[in-house]
């Protein structure tokens, strides 16, 4: 039975960090676009391209090599959307309330945060894809960021429509 318990522990460990982040993290709203409006549905998930995933959106991106882990500092704007501010190598302390640090890894000019894919119910997959294609500038993704910079995806918002 120890082997069965071990399998259960693995199943618990897979989402453990995301669960902690979702329950303790700060809410951040990010602007997104589908990677390719004509090829964004792969299986039952949508792939996103965040503004903060582009290293060139940060002024000091060039000093970080490929594969390095960074903390992306984002800042809340007047419209409630958080935008890129700075990349730092270490977790900053004492960030003001309107700033958050997101842990990501630089991969070939992009920053991966582990929130690039939203799984949607089978019945909604075409609806979500169509909504994203028709309203690329209005799509926002709500994420949670914990004190260590780990990020968890909560839901997709397009105007008043919510997909989660």
């Amino acid at each position: 039975m120890a082997a069965v318990v071990f399998q259960l522990l693995i199943l618990v460990a897979v989402p453990a960090r995301k669960v902690v982040t979702l329950s303790t993290g700060k809410t951040v709203l990010l602007k997104v676009q589908p990677v390719d409006p004509y090829n964004m549905l792969s299986g039952y998930y949508n792939t996103f391209n965040f503004d903060i995933a582009d290293v060139n959106a940060f002024p000091n991106a060039q000093v970080f090599p490929n594969d390095s882990w960074v903390y992306a500092i984002v800042q809340r704007g007047d419209d409630g959307v958080w935008t890129p501010a700075l990349l730092v190598p270490d977790l900053p302390t004492n960030l003001p309330e309107n700033r958050a640090a997101l842990l990501g890894q630089i991969r070939y000019g992009r920053i991966k945060y582990g929130i690039e894919e939203l799984y949607v119910p089978e019945a909604q997959r075409y609806t979500v894809g169509e909504d994203l294609r028709l309203n690329p500038d209005k799509a926002r993704v709500e994420v949670k960021v914990d004190k260590n910079g780990h990020v968890a995806l909560v839901r997709l918002k397009i105007e008043d429509r919510i997909y989660e």
Partner: protein, 451 residues
Amino acid sequence: MSTKFRAELRNELPLWTQQGLLSDDAAKQLASIYQLDNLKHESSNLLSAVIFTIGGLLLGGGLISFVAANWDAISTPVKLTLLVTALLSFHIVGRWLWQTTHWRRLGHALVFCGCLVFGANIGLVAQIFHISSSWYAGFGAWALGSLAMAWAFRSWIIGVLTLFTSFLWFVGHQGDSYDFTAIAYPLIIAAALLPLAWIIRSRVLYTGTVIAVVASACVLAGNHGSGRQLLITMAAGAVFMWTLGELQRAARWRAEFANLTVGFGLALLAITAYVWSFHIFWSPSPFGTMSAYWAIVFFVLAIVGVVLWFARRGHQTRSLALTVGVLTAGGILCASSLMARADAPNGETLFTITTNFAALIVAAVVIAASLIDERRAVFWLGSLYLVQLILSRFLEYETSLLVKSAAFLACGVAVIVAGVGYEQYLRRNRPRAEADQPLTEAKGTGGKIFE
């Protein structure tokens, strides 16, 4: 001893006793030695295991599909409860059947299906929490859980599942990061599964693990080194597999594993020699850094294996020539890889010739093995390999159509003549061999290269 042989023996025994070739007592003794009475039971067990496994797969697939289809209608706690319940149901019922009833094979099938459900659960949990990760990460978690279950239930098929999922993880992981876990994967998978295969005497798991060890080392050399590093790793890995199998046979360490290991080693050596026999693979290229660590390990293990094999082979001389041939071919390939340099004068031509020579030796070894063991299929494999090697050279280089035509005709005639000669050889030798060979020899491995 193969089931096919025992089934044929069961059919022949009544005829032999009717014809007076065997006494009733001798027939009963043979039936007892080969456990012929168990044949019917064994075949029905195998059939039931296959049916139970297919049934379990369909059951597990249906449950997972049901949960996935009702994703939007089910709340997250209920989804997780359903996934865990499905997993526990397979494992608990499977374990109960395995240990407390005579439905052992059904229990084994259910536990195996439970491990498949475990893999599906990992993917579904990742979906519930929108976890975006590398495509291979889930296979790593799956392999860990399956490994624990394979050891807990001493299951060869769950061991094979572990091998498959861990290899997928390795392929993805080493592509992303060339770190310690990637470099050490061949050692890790060998330590995790070879003892299990040894304990439960599973030829499939044992051979699969040895192949995975060599294949993963080749992936590392090819992906993070150069073509020459891939060549030396493949050649050293092939020689290692051959010597491992020969040593096991000579020392009678799980001799039943030997044939597959030796066969795959020779096949890998043949493929390696054939691929690098093409001139294009020896075109000038930078030496690069020598990072084929596992080639060195295989080489050292092969040398140790040869020394031990030589000490334990006793009075058997039949495999000596074949082993010398394999070592020579492997040595030529390794030496060619080490000596080839981009600035070596006429290096391309020299090393193309040496690898072609190595391929010819491999063909000779295969044909010699077929003559020693009187195995028709092996003879044709060796002959076709030789013909393919020769025709590849004629097609590779600019020669006139007349020369190509002559080469095809000569190869065709040679194959027919060799085939006729081999059949005559079999006819001459078989009656004598059958008369000389005591019946009890058939029960052991018989020292055959391929069985």
